[in-house]
């Protein structure tokens, strides 16, 4: 992949990151469509010539689709392992199934409205993320995905893999159905930092849904950003799941907002929380090396400190939250590897991470003590 193309992509604010920077509790809604073509083996089992054929069909269909024609299709083989990791950690590329290094295309959309992959686990997987809110945005995301599904079906000129009983056929039979799934993204720093994550998890379990940390593998992910959707590998009914997801998302959003409101009006937040915030700030100011494991928790504390106005920020352009949201991306291991010419993670990665945060806090954000 050409460096310029990737740089441009990374410099753009993703809708998800923008919503995060704005401190929304409900970051947005996501709809994913996955389709396969009839008469073609699924990607994990298809021969090279079949994958090539599918690739060509999809390229033609995308050119004709009014929504997708501006999306570039980039061969997966042109991405290095670090670049794949970088895009995946920023949720710009769906997780790649094992052995998917063979022929495949990724959707490269500079506006980052669509993400996707062709010949991943399915022949086509397109994600549409709509930021902010849950009621209307969830419906809109669902509609947008359905519209893509309908338009592509018109342009494909091949039959989709369809069965009367199982409907759209996926490689994984537990995913077969209408080829569509929906999820909501939540930003819950107040609930997490005040130790109410267990209650949140309980509510999610009661609703028979699942919650996973966003942005990378759990140990590197932000501790307060979650994706909530249906449990993997369990049959579900969209008609039942959709209203449950919406109701739960709204409830969690409301709980988070109430908690933040309470924190805003409280003069003191409790010694334990304030100590942690104070320690985090001190470490950042000293430029102490920060491990990737400690980073998300530290950023979560700082972001919540700014949101609840316990940290006073002298940011001339009022972009403190954006800087803090971006800090996560700029300090991820994959980005440090990418900056260091992809030669594996440099030995001083923790020090670099510390330095990036120190500069951010002391030079750009000018955070005062609380």
């Amino acid at each position: 992949m050409k460096g310029d193309e990737l740089q441009t992509l990374l410099q753009h604010e993703t809708p998800l990151m923008q919503a995060l920077a704005d401190g929304e509790s409900i970051l947005g809604s996501q709809a994913i469509i996955a389709l396969n073509l009839a008469d073609y083996s699924f990607p994990h089992w298809a021969a090279e010539d079949q994958l090539k054929e599918v690739e060509e069909i999809m390229r033609r269909a995308f050119k004709k689709d009014r929504q997708l024609k501006r999306v570039s299709l980039l061969p997966l083989s042109e991405l290095s392992e670090t670049e794949k990791m970088l895009l995946q950690q920023r949720e710009l590329l769906p997780p790649l199934p094992p052995g998917s290094a063979k022929r495949g295309l990724i959707l490269l959309d500079q506006c980052q409205l669509f993400l996707g992959i062709i010949n991943g686990e399915e022949h086509l997987l397109v994600e549409r993320f709509i930021s902010y809110g849950l009621g209307r945005s969830l419906t809109s995301a669902l509609w947008a995905a359905r519209a893509i599904q309908a338009e592509l079906a018109d342009h494909l000129h091949v039959c989709l893999a369809w069965d009367e009983e199982f409907q759209f056929l996926m490689a994984d039979p537990l995913k077969s159905g209408d080829g569509l799934s929906v999820a909501c993204w939540m930003n819950l720093p107040a609930l997490v930092q005040t130790g109410e994550l267990e209650n949140v998890q309980e509510l999610v379990s009661e609703a028979k849904l699942q919650m996973r940390p966003a942005f990378g593998v759990p140990e590197e992910a932000m501790p307060d950003v979650f994706r909530i959707d249906q449990p993997a590998g369990e049959p579900f009914s969209l008609s039942e799941f959709f209203p449950v997801l919406r109701k739960l998302g709204r409830k969690l959003g409301s709980m988070e907002n109430q908690k933040r409101k309470k924190m805003l009006t409280q003069k003191r937040l409790g010694a334990a929380w304030e100590n942690r915030l104070s320690e985090a700030l001190e470490l950042v100011r000293k430029g102490t090396p920060i491990s990737e494991k400690d980073l998300p928790g530290m950023l979560s504390l700082l972001r919540l400190g700014v949101t609840t106005q316990k940290l006073h920020v002298n940011c001339p352009s009022d972009c403190a939250k954006t800087h803090l949201a971006r800090a996560h991306a700029a300090t991820q291991s994959s980005y440090i590897m990418y900056s260091a010419a992809e030669d594996g993670l440099p030995a001083d990665a923790d020090a670099r991470r510390g330095e990036v945060l120190r500069r951010l806090v002391t030079e750009q954000l000018q955070i005062n003590d609380f």
């Binding site: 008469d39 893999a161 199982f166 056929l169 996926m170 994984d172 159905g177 209408d178 008609s239």
Partner: protein
């Protein structure tokens, strides 16, 4: 031991003594180096079974033919009637289109191609219990329809908005 190898669309006989077969590891189903090297991936499973049948004396030709994937029939010059016949007799644990086997499914938990769903239909019912219950068109609640109507108005899709308005009215009548 004689095997028929199919490479680049051509048939070739391969003769191996028991010792050579042992050396190549073909007694061990986990190390089918010959099958893996000579045959395309989608055929190696069938070759594996063929070898096992020969080694274990289960040389029932007709039974074996029904195990071969669909695209092999044309190599043998069968007519479409014969092909249909073979297909009808195909064992339920091998997909007649792509050659995917039950063992492949058990290993990967993925289907090989759309036709695998037909082949393994009964298994899917057994294995995933209630799969037939998944995914139906979303139930239209009044709240959802009203939201969809607003979105349609925003998109200036008034025709769709009117359709949704009518659906809301219908639901109101029913309730």
């Amino acid at each position: 031991m004689f095997l028929t190898q199919i490479a680049n669309g051509k048939l070739r006989d391969v003769a191996l003594c028991q010792e050579c077969a042992k050396k190549e590891g073909i007694f061990d189903p986990q190390q089918l180096s010959i099958a893996g090297q000579f045959f395309p991936k989608e055929l190696s499973g069938h070759i594996e079974r063929l070898i096992n049948q020969i080694l274990h004396g289960e040389d029932d030709d007709e039974k074996e033919l029904t195990h071969l994937p669909n695209h092999l029939f044309s190599l043998h010059g069968e007519t479409s009637e014969q092909e249909a016949d073979y297909r009808s007799r195909a064992h339920a644990d091998v997909c007649p289109r792509c050659g995917y086997t039950l063992a492949d499914y058990k290993r990967t938990h993925l289907m090989g191609c759309p036709e695998c769903y037909d082949t393994f239909r009964s298994l899917l019912h057994e294995h995933a219990g209630g799969l037939q219950e998944i995914e139906r068109p979303p139930h239209e609640s009044r709240e959802e329809l009203e939201e969809q109507m607003l979105v349609a108005v925003e998109r200036e899709d008034y025709e769709e908005a009117a359709r949704l308005r009518d659906r809301v009215k219908e639901l109101e009548k029913k309730s």
